[in-house]
Symmetry: C2
């Protein structure tokens, strides 16, 4: 199983959209995909018409096992509108984890251990994270073999990326782990000079760590989210789906997958 | 002093942009404005060309007083490019507060107490919050007399607003406090049916709690953020500045300010 995390402390940059788009494309290729919603706000769960305020069991039960005993990914996973894509849903109770898990040994490795038990059941696991550094993001970074950082092609977002990098280096140092990352320029609007200028800055600053193409602004991604259907099945030929297909090939190449 | 918080657990909806725009407009009217960056990612601090990874003192020092003794807002506040607007900057160390302040008495009231000591120094305090429920957002909600919730006019964002409401009711119940809120539709794109449709849903669901106008999509807000200048001083006549001016009049009316 390949585990990819999608993270950025900046909010609203397309983390959830990227997980959904890539998961759909992998499922279209016949892969078995697990998507994990680590955001207490539950956007990925809501995308598939489930309610994070009212869902049992959920990812929370992997962190705080119910009295009846620990749950496995098999028991928590839910089918989605996309065949081949299974969701580990978020519940809003995840917001209480930070306070509940203080000082517990191995609190950053809960997800890694749960995924290890399900290693043969899926080909890919894609992790959606909340826009904040905390125990949930740390679990995702600890479990992942590859990190995708969506970055809006906009000036302040690039400054924010520098801070994200500092955070990443700090977390990796404390975990004695190297996590390869790729910067994915998104929400690119070729009509504005701000987009074009900031893309050049991104490429200059991050070189090979920055993907050579971009995800364009495309309102049809919002239409897909309203319908609760992955973009490649909702409207296959759009510019953003083709761009995500191109990005997926790049990621598969980085992960040495044929 | 009037204290307004801007919050939404959904990321990237214009929280920071709203704090900057309103602060600039209030300063244009000669008001003394304090803006507070409660987001460890520090977008508001970066907007004014300061570095959250390298800033001392910062808001963090109000929560965890340095050995040399407690600091006041007067010692932490920084002048900005906009005369009349003072910033309490964020540092990335704020991300450690959740773990540090567990179980401490009154950890939700630190900001309220600090603002009470500076009550006569400012006419308005605007609080920018991170997109996550935690000790920093709770401090903002506890200190505020009015809450502004920016909501993207987009289907999933409205679903997210329902969850935000649940969170708000939960927090207010535990604090025995009623916090009036107003839903501010933003990133409205009159060319797309998704925007128009979701605005109607917002109005139906939230009635009087939803502002009767909208903040339009306007890329010049990004240009202002790149320049580090508040929108009303960067390009006064734009559609978004006029819309924020209209929204400010609405808020002043709600707060019984002439
Ligand atoms: N390429 C794109 N073109 C147009 N809209 C997009 C694109 N990518 C994402 N969006 C839209 O932008 C908004 C934010 O995207 P999304 O929710 O995926 O971001 P996020 O980083 O997961 O946010 P959060 O920080 O709240 O978790 C959504 O309304 C989504 O539909
Ligand atoms: N009305 C608008 N029109 C166009 N762009 C906007 C508008 N409001 C905000 N933006 C842009 O959208 C992006 C997100 O805005 P902003 O950073 O203010 O959101 P936020 O809610 O504070 O995000 P976070 O959740 O990360 O704190 C920024 O690039 C900003 O310039
Ligand atoms: Mg998300
Ligand atoms: Mg912000």
């Amino acid at each position: 199983m390949h585990v990819w995390a999608v993270a950025n402390q900046k909010g609203g940059v397309g983390k959830t959209t990227t997980v959904v788009a890539l998961a759909g494309l992998l499922a279209d290729q016949g892969k078995r995909v697990l998507i994990v919603d680590l955001d207490p706000h539950g956007s990925l769960t809501a995308y598939f018409k489930m309610d994070p305020d009212d869902i049992e069991p959920s990812l929370y039960d992997l962190f705080v096992p119910p009295d009846s005993g620990a749950l496995s990914i098999g028991k928590v996973g839910r089918a989605t509108s996309s065949e081949g894509v299974t969701l580990l849903p978020a519940s809003t109770a995840l917001a209480t984890l930070e306070r509940k898990m203080i000082g517990q040994e191995g609190m950053g490795l809960v997800l890694s251990r749960a995924l290890a038990d399900a290693w043969d059941a899926y080909d890919f696991a894609l992790l959606d994270t909340p826009p904040v550094l905390g125990v949930l993001m740390i679990n995702a970074l600890a479990a992942a073999e590859q990190l995708v950082i969506p970055v809006q092609t906009e000036f302040l977002a690039i400054k924010g990326l520098e801070r994200m990098m500092h955070t990443l280096k700090m977390v990796m140092k404390s975990r004695h782990k190297i996590l390869p990352y790729v910067v994915m320029p998104t929400l690119f609007d070729r009509r504005t000079s701000a987009s074009i200028g900031s893309l050049r800055v991104l490429r200059d600053e991050y070189g090979d760590a920055c993907w050579t193409d971009v995800i364009p602004v495309d309102t049809r991604l919002r239409d897909a989210s309203r319908a609760g259907i992955v973009p490649s099945q909702f409207q296959p030929g759009t510019r953003s789906v083709r761009a995500y297909q191109h990005f997926l090939s790049y990621l598969l190449h980085l992960s040495n997958v044929d």
